[in-house]
Subunit: 131 residues, 3 copies
Amino acid sequence: MYYKYELKTNNEAFYNITDMVDDAIKKSGVESGICLVFCPHTTAAITINENADEYVAKDVILASKTAFPKLEGFRHDEGNSDGHVKCSMFGASETLIIDKGKLVLGVWQDIYFAEFDPPRNRSFFVKIIEG
Amino acid sequence: MYYKYELKTNNEAFYNITDMVDDAIKKSGVESGICLVFCPHTTAAITINENADEYVAKDVILASKTAFPKLEGFRHDEGNSDGHVKCSMFGASETLIIDKGKLVLGVWQDIYFAEFDPPRNRSFFVKIIEG
Amino acid sequence: MYYKYELKTNNEAFYNITDMVDDAIKKSGVESGICLVFCPHTTAAITINENADEYVAKDVILASKTAFPKLEGFRHDEGNSDGHVKCSMFGASETLIIDKGKLVLGVWQDIYFAEFDPPRNRSFFVKIIEG
């Protein structure tokens, strides 16, 4: 069994999903193990980064747009190949430790759903392995 | 136990390995759990991206070549440091959910072995954890 | 239970942590399973790359500095947003296979803690799942 969560994105940005991952762990009742947060989309990703200053996420988005711009040589006809490359760079998932029934995160870390396409209805999955 | 698969690459490109990962899951008989697809090479990677339009993979390769070109300052004497940086950026592995004996993938997702060096005999591993 | 290791970094570089991960596996007594190496910091990362030529790590650092420079548009007031973007690009963790009580790594692979900020006292976690 795994847990599915839905979110509505507004634009290219990071959306904090830590509370939803916490919810899955609570529902599972697992005290010790690992937790896989998986994105089933190809122009979005899961990433972990700073939660304190909202400008960190905005700066990371700016840096990724600068490093991976729309290129004249792109041939994918939907015109969103820059979103596809960011999907592979940020990665489809994050795996985290569960201890004493809670996520093990650094002081400044939270988990983000990263949107690289225009507003969409999106989902992600949480799978928990006891151990 | 884990499963080993081999492939022969022709050039810098994505090679769809989803059928081989499906094969490992079938052989394992595991109905529910997670699946780690791991690349043991340092100028190649495992990534997940779109399977519908072949130009997506080509555009992602083009974008990564553009962002991570051969630099004059490189000192590694094999001359393939651009392949090594892409290895770290795309990442050595992907972890996926297994449910009802099958991979849980989004509609547009497939799993790719990404080659960043000239043609090679390559391998990758699939490890399955029940849970 | 999971294992915590500490290291002191000197500058932006890769620090080989494979021996520490081996130590965790030995302490766990697990013969078969997976191993999650997790970084709890947001301007550092865990990555796998070549261990033979020290210039590979230096070239990868150079390439990532070139692709993700400090940008004029950054607004995070600590001035280290370039480190935060590299954190998300390299990724917070690596997951590896354990077989016969040992890490399954390619001939040229080792595991690195990647520092993207000035010298710090850092830590990382190793979580082992039997299976």
